[in-house]
């Protein structure tokens, strides 16, 4: 069912305080969250006997092997029973009743409890199970209709697990770069209500900025992440209205340690990439947290455009990599601090973007529009970690396989 435009906020009514669904999990169950953070449904599969099992266990329930591997599943199955909760013992769900749940028999041979999308018919019905992060940041299973339905993303329960920009107000911190401009366009196309787009030095003309600023949903705002006072000032103006922050601001120079004397370039990178995030988080974070349950389209997400170089230093862009690693670490802190409110921190780790600062990096490179599309998709899917493009996926696979080996490969 299509979601109607939310009414304007009634200033007389109390803003609902944020709550989150039950977030306790055993360590072994966090494997589901690890995969869901990347947008995947993975279940434990026994390497010895092939049994697919759920809930997560410490051993295979069929053959007792401890050799269990989290493996991608297609989620195909049948809804065999469902219910609509009209009572709950938990504050979060009490405020969101009625709530539909079901028992699903996966074709893989195990039964799972899942949230049920509103477009799924009465049991028995063929469905497809996917994993999503709920507002507690933990993985939950969702039963979707087998075939895509119209306005599927608008489902009330599903929107509790996603950060769909539709009908939301977004701040994009830097609209002067190709990436920033592509992100603005993608958000407008995704149905964002309003996009504030920052520009640090309004007197300078940058290609493409005027076209972005002229879009009906877009409002340019002065924002220089190196200026604490400027960040505070903007937060005071719009901080209480922003639903999603997308931090696209970035300073990127191509130096290692030995090929440029002094600290100027490295300091400038840190000032935007690391301290800029810190300034932004200190000023916009509290307001976002406070509005995390403000109606059906309240504050929901904070997106950091990092770099896959944050995982392992790319020596040719050594100081840039270091600033992104610092930003990544800070983003983990932000994620932890945001978690109690349910605001999701989405970290995006692109490989080299096809822009002027990657001129000498050979292809494949990521088009700014592809990066922007990946960000919007991540918000719609409720994903937490995004590695868009072939290079990022390749680095991720190598890093997960053996971080030390990746370090050595990058030094050659």
């Amino acid at each position: 069912m299509s979601l109607p435009r939310p009414p304007k906020k009634n200033p007389i009514l109390r803003t609902r305080a944020p709550t989150t669904p039950p977030g306790g999990r055993s360590r072994v169950a966090l494997g589901l969250t690890t995969a869901a953070a990347l947008g995947r449904l993975e279940l434990q599969v026994c390497r010895d006997c092939g049994t697919v099992q759920y809930p997560p266990r410490e051993a295979c329930h069929a053959c007792l092997s401890e050799r269990l591997r989290w493996t991608v599943q297609d989620g195909a199955g049948e809804l065999i029973a469902d219910t609509v909760l009209t009572h709950s013992n938990d504050l979060y769900f009490r405020e969101r009743l009625p709530w539909r749940l079901g028992m699903v028999r996966l074709d893989a041979g195990t039964s799972v409890v899942a949230h049920v999308h509103g477009d799924v018919g009465d049991a028995p019905a063929r469905i497809r199970v996917g994993a999503r992060l709920d507002r507690a940041g933990q993985a939950v299973l969702v039963a979707f209709p087998e075939q895509e339905t119209k306005d599927m993303a608008d489902d009330r329960q599903l929107r509790e697990m996603t950060c769909d920009p539709k009908y939301r107000k977004v701040l994009v911190t830097d609209g002067k770069t190709p990436t920033g401009q592509a992100v603005v366009r993608a958000l407008v196309d995704a149905g964002a209500d309003l996009v504030w787009v920052g520009h640090a030095e309004p007197w300078k003309q940058y290609a493409g900025f005027d076209a972005i600023a002229g879009l009906p949903a877009v409002t340019p705002v002065p924002l220089d992440l190196t200026d604490s006072r400027a960040v505070s000032s903007l937060a005071a103006q719009i901080g209480g209205k922003v639903d999603i922050v997308v931090n696209t601001a970035e300073h990127h120079r191509t130096f290692g340690i030995g090929d440029r004397r002094g600290l100027d370039a490295a300091r400038a990178e840190m000032d935007i990439n690391y301290f800029g995030l810190l300034r932004l988080a200190q000023d916009f974070g509290p307001a976002l947290k406070a509005r995390a349950a403000d109606g059906d389209s309240g504050a929901c997400a904070w997106v950091n455009v990092l770099s896959v170089y944050a995982l392992a230093n790319f020596p040719a862009h050594g100081t840039f990599s270091a600033s992104k690693a610092a930003a990544y670490s800070l983003a983990q802190c932000l994620r932890a601090e945001m978690r109690a409110s349910g605001v999701r921190v989405v970290n995006v780790f692109p490989g080299p973007v096809d822009d002027e600062w990657n001129q000498l990096v050979p292809p494949p490179k990521l088009a700014p529009s592809a990066l922007a599309a990946a960000i919007v998709k991540a918000l719609r899917d409720g994903v937490e970690d995004v590695f868009p493009g072939e290079v990022a996926q390749d680095w991720l696979a190598r890093w997960r396989d053996d971080p030390k080996a990746l370090e050595r490969e990058l030094s050659l």
Binding site: G23, R25, P56, T83, L85, S88, S111, V112, V113
Partner: protein
């Protein structure tokens, strides 16, 4: 190998610590009261009780071990049974073996829980690892949601209607009106049952037990000892227990009883047609229907038809949950797993607190417990007989729909 019988052992001294909706006491208080009443009624000293068997959720962080020091006991045989609704039957069969083997002379079997205003909600999220990982985050509906799935699947598979479940609830309420400890004191009509608000459809208000505080208890000792003490006892004809039965079933439409009923009735030397009353574990009515089927009172899937042709009242056909069951008495935590068994002891010794099942000689008490994830894992059943009756051993006949297992109304 044929299983040894339980000759020479009896269960006696049924005790109930009156139920209250909420209590500021701890579980230890309810268990202490139960033990005190057990020994006072039996005319024993506390030190005569040399075996202790405990079931309680809210006793935590203590277990039966801590309770021995709390109550100043030095038993030589101790068991802690965390099996919820199956605790009563399991305690009985273990205690009986201990007495039979001489490992203990007198075993006190206790089950009880307190219920603070907060305790039910707090327990739900930490009931089990699977519940915390894979059920509670889904709406935090607790057992209502889990039983909604089972009930919906049962209704669809076997054609049961809400009226079928309602008949059981209404009949049990009638039985409860005569039972002094029942928390529900008002009659329930089928119309009121059907009009109740939904909790997790198809589960509605009167399908749900009310959590409360209270305790149930009994003693197990040799028949000779009971006789010397002048205590009317109940013989154990046969028992079963089973855990995680039928794990491959996509959803629970049957319990472990279905695996073990041949064993149960073979050991007991009686069949379902000999049973004068049934005490099911009834936290939700659907599970009573499953027990009626799985314990052989009708064929699988015939539960709805069976419900439509019986009254389930103590004075009618097929007396069931004769004190009102948990649905009308309340669910005092682990004591819910003892309720039917303790009531069976009262009926079979001719001393019910409420209305009497006429000529009750053989009763069956069943247990079901622990929705660990998507289904109840523990099941058990015990066939019991009063000491004055003699065991009948008629050939077993399936319920044909009209006469077998039907008691004619007086």
């Amino acid at each position: 190998m044929a299983r040894a019988n339980y000759d020479g052992v009896v269960a006696c001294v049924p005790v109930t610590v009156p139920y209250v909706r909420h209590s500021i006491r701890g579980a230890h208080w309810f268990l202490a009261r139960a033990l005190r009443e057990l020994i006072a009624t039996a005319g024993l000293a506390k030190s005569d009780v040399d075996g202790l068997c405990v079931s309680s959720f809210s006793l935590a962080p203590d277990t039966a071990v801590g309770l021995t020091q709390h109550l100043g006991m030095s038993p030589r045989w101790l068991d802690h049974i965390p099996m919820g609704g199956a605790s009563g039957v399991v305690a009985l069969r273990r205690a009986a073996r201990a007495v039979q083997a001489g490992d203990a002379d007198v075993v006190a079997c206790l089950a009880g829980d307190t219920n603070h205003v907060e305790s039910f909600r707090l327990m739900l999220g930490n009931f089990s690892q699977f519940a915390r990982d894979a059920v509670y985050p889904y709406g935090a509906g607790g057992p209502n949601a889990s039983f909604a799935f089972l009930t919906a699947a049962y209704m669809r598979t076997y054609g049961a209607t809400r009226e079928d479940f309602g008949r059981l609830c209404v009949a049990q309420r009638e039985n409860a009106l005569a039972f002094p400890h029942a928390l529900m004191k008002k009659p329930l009509t089928l119309d009121a049952y059907l009009a109740a608000r939904a909790v997790a459809a198809p589960i509605h208000l009167f399908d749900c037990v009310m959590p409360c505080a209270g305790a149930e208890a009994f003693l197990v000792m040799t028949a000779d000892r009971a006789k010397r003490l002048g205590l009317p006892g109940v013989r154990i004809l046969g028992t079963i227990e089973r855990h995680n039965a039928f794990p491959e079933d996509p959803i629970q439409l049957r319990g472990g009883w279905a695996m073990d009923i041949d064993d149960l009735y073979a050991q007991a030397g009686v069949g379902p047609e000999d049973i004068d009353f049934l005490q099911t574990y009834d936290d939700y009515p659907v599970i009573s229907l499953m027990q009626i089927e799985d314990l052989g009172f009708c064929a699988k899937g015939d539960g709805p038809a069976f419900v439509r042709r019986h009254t389930f009242t103590n004075d009618g056909s097929f007396p069931m949950n004769t004190s009102g069951g948990q649905l009308s008495v309340g669910q005092a935590g682990a004591a819910g797993g003892y309720l039917g068994l303790v009531e069976a002891l009262r009926q079979l010794t001719g001393r019910p607190l409420g209305s009497t099942v006429p000529d009750a000689r053989i009763g069956l008490a069943s247990g079901f417990g622990m929705i660990n994830y998507d289904r109840g894992l523990c099941s058990g059943a015990a066939v019991l007989a009063g000491t004055s009756s003699t065991t009948r051993s008629k050939p077993r006949a399936p319920d044909t729909g009209s006469t077998a297992a039907v008691r004619s109304a007086p």
